[in-house]
């Protein structure tokens, strides 16, 4: 590296140094390498030495000390105000008043809507705004009342969600309704209960589910849910389901399902009732009624596919071998989703095995006819095969 390069590097480093820059700008002595630059700085500084003469106006005001009528220099806010104020000052007085009233009203409305005012002022402003405008504020006291009302029926559920007035009620109802929507056929009894066996509230929820005719249209969309269409006919039977619900409490006890299985034979007697009702309902549909007739014959433990059978079919063929299967199903069946999987599994079995599928479908009908429904769709093919 040559000496000139070294000098160049030194100069560059000196300029990068803040101290050197400050020395240069202050006009103090600088290293030889920065002399030209220091001279340029002196030249620039010399431009600020000559005192210009004041304008006549300034000279006169300085002499008199009177600066009235001159816009004083202020902060940046003043500058900003200076920009928009001339425009506003050019408005008519009426326009100014109207604009001010509108701005104030809008501001109070927004603040009142946010509930940021003190209680007294909040009420008065709300009442005023409601009286002079179509705006209505939500009554907070009403909300509290709603919360209390909703909480009373389901104190257990409301505990986590008690913070939101009516929401907890919606959520709980959604839970119940969602699950049946998912497993329309298999779960009506066990829908909410496997989740919360302690819920005595299911009766109030069940009326909710019949109100949902919407679920059937959804279900046909899902190929896995052939059960939903049967549900629709079941919904009128829903009032009957509550008596069946006592069976469902056994659901959460799926491990003890085996002792339940002896009870299951009770369900078959119940089934003829349901099938009958279902048959009536199905007759308009046609094929399902036939399937019911074949059920009693094929519900025998031998023929009933343990796999295909729903819980009802499981007890029939299960007492020996199926309990294990049923427990497996029952455990997942504790949750409504698992119940769905059971139903779908039964459908698959039914479709696969033909007769067994029909038997399973009948068994399912005992639960609420949903099983029949399950047998219907896949079962339509299954029954056809069986026949």
């Amino acid at each position: 590296m040559s000496s000139s390069d070294d000098v160049h590097e030194m100069r560059r480093h000196r300029l990068d140094d803040d101290t050197a820059v400050e020395t240069l700008l202050s006009g103090e002595a600088v290293p030889p390498g920065l002399e030209p630059l220091s001279g340029a700085v002196r030249e620039i500084r010399s431009e600020g030495t000559g005192c210009p003469d004041p304008t006549p106006e300034l000279a006169e005001r300085m002499a008199t000390g009177d600066f009235a009528g001159i816009q004083p220099a202020g902060s940046g806010a003043d500058q900003g105000r200076r920009r928009w104020w001339p425009r506003v000052s050019a408005w008519r007085p009426r326009t100014r008043v109207v604009t001010g009233v509108v701005a104030a009203f809008t501001g109070f409305t927004g603040v009142a809507a946010a509930g940021a005012l003190p209680d007294g002022a909040q009420r008065s402003v709300e009442s005023f705004i409601e009286s002079v405008s179509p705006i209505t504020f939500r009554d907070r006291s009403g909300e509290v009342a709603d919360v209390e009302e909703t909480e009373t029926p389901s104190p257990a559920d409301a505990s986590p969600l008690s913070g939101h007035g009516s929401e907890p009620d919606h959520e709980t109802s959604d839970d119940t309704t969602d699950t049946p929507a998912r497993n329309p056929g298999t779960f009506p009894p066990g829908v909410g209960r496997p989740d919360t066996p302690d819920r005595p509230e299911t009766p109030p929820r069940e009326p909710d589910t019949p109100d949902r005719p919407e679920t059937p249209p959804r279900e046909p969309d899902t190929p896995n849910r052939p059960e939903t269409p049967p549900r629709e006919p079941d919904t009128p039977n829903r009032p009957e389901t509550p008596p069946e619900e006592p069976d469902t409490p056994n659901r959460p006890e799926t491990p003890p399902e085996e002792p339940d299985t002896p009870n299951r034979p009770d369900t078959p007697p119940g089934q003829p009732e349901d099938p009958g009702s279902n048959a009536e309902e199905r007759q308009p549909d046609g094929s399902p009624g036939e399937g019911n007739e074949g059920n009693p014959d094929r519900n025998q433990p031998d023929q009933g596919n343990p796999d295909s059978g729903n819980r009802d079919s499981a007890p029939e063929g299960a007492p020996e071998s199926k309990p294990g299967d049923s427990t497996e199903r029952g455990e997942p069946g504790d949750t409504s989703d698992n119940g769905n999987s059971d139903g779908s599994a039964s459908q698959r079995d039914g479709s696969g095995h033909g007769d067994g599928g029909s038997g399973a479908g009948n068994g399912g009908s005992g639960d609420g006819g949903s099983g029949d429904d399950t047998s219907e769709r896949p079962g339509t093919s299954a029954n056809a095969r069986g026949r």
Binding site: V21, E47, G48, C51, P52, L58, R61, I70
Partner: protein, 201 residues
């Protein structure tokens, strides 16, 4: 020559910096109370730097703009409180804003240049001195032309207005780091210009 005038004429500019010193508070109070000599003193101290800053920044009529700045300063003296250095920074803040406003007005209403009326308006004086001054102004104008607008703004406030980095940052609404970077780049550009010319000032 009155004592006030002698004080003004004896104003020393070490390194180009102006300072009133300990008398500043008294002068400021006198100006607030409307004493003409106080206005005169403040004007004589700061007007050269303000006018130089406005001129090198390219103001169309720097002297008129300078007077406009001081009209606003004197009218707003009651709202100011602080030291002399803060007063200096405040005055240049106003000057900078007036300059920005003047530029906006110019962009809205562009006017055709009319030569150099300043030369015609000036009273006759020493021709040699005037020529040297004109050369110096042209030279400085050429140097400033090498700078970007931001660099020129920073360097002029640092050199002509004699403000610190912090004060320049306040006036321009920038960070200290940005001001330092701009002044370093500006000095680098000036040095590059000087080295390219091969002229030592």
């Amino acid at each position: 020559m009155s004592e006030f005038e002698r004080t003004v004429s004896e104003a020393v500019y070490p390194g180009g910096s102006l300072s009133i010193g300990e008398d500043f508070d008294g002068i400021l109070d006198a100006a607030r109370s409307g004493e003409p000599w106080a206005f005169e003193r403040l004007y004589r101290d700061l007007a050269p730097a303000v006018a130089g800053y406005l001129r090198l920044q390219g103001a169309a009529e720097p002297e008129d703009l300078n007077s406009d700045v001081f009209l606003g300063v004197f009218a707003g003296l009651s709202s100011f409180s602080g030291t002399e250095q803060q007063f200096r920074s405040w005055v240049f803040t106003i000057a900078h804003r007036r300059l920005v406003d003047e530029r906006r007005r110019r962009t809205r209403k562009p006017s055709t240049p009319t030569g150099e009326p300043e030369v015609l308006d000036r009273p006759a004086g020493d021709a040699e001195q005037d020529a040297m001054a004109a050369l110096g102004q042209r030279r400085v104008a050429e140097l400033c032309a090498e700078l970007s607008a931001d660099q020129r703004e920073v360097l002029l406030l640092r050199i002509v207005a004699d403000l610190t980095v912090e004060q320049v940052a306040e006036v321009l609404g920038r960070s200290k780091g940005a001001v330092k970077a701009l002044q370093r780049r500006g000095l680098t550009a000036l040095r590059k210009k000087l080295s390219g010319e091969g002229v030592t000032l």
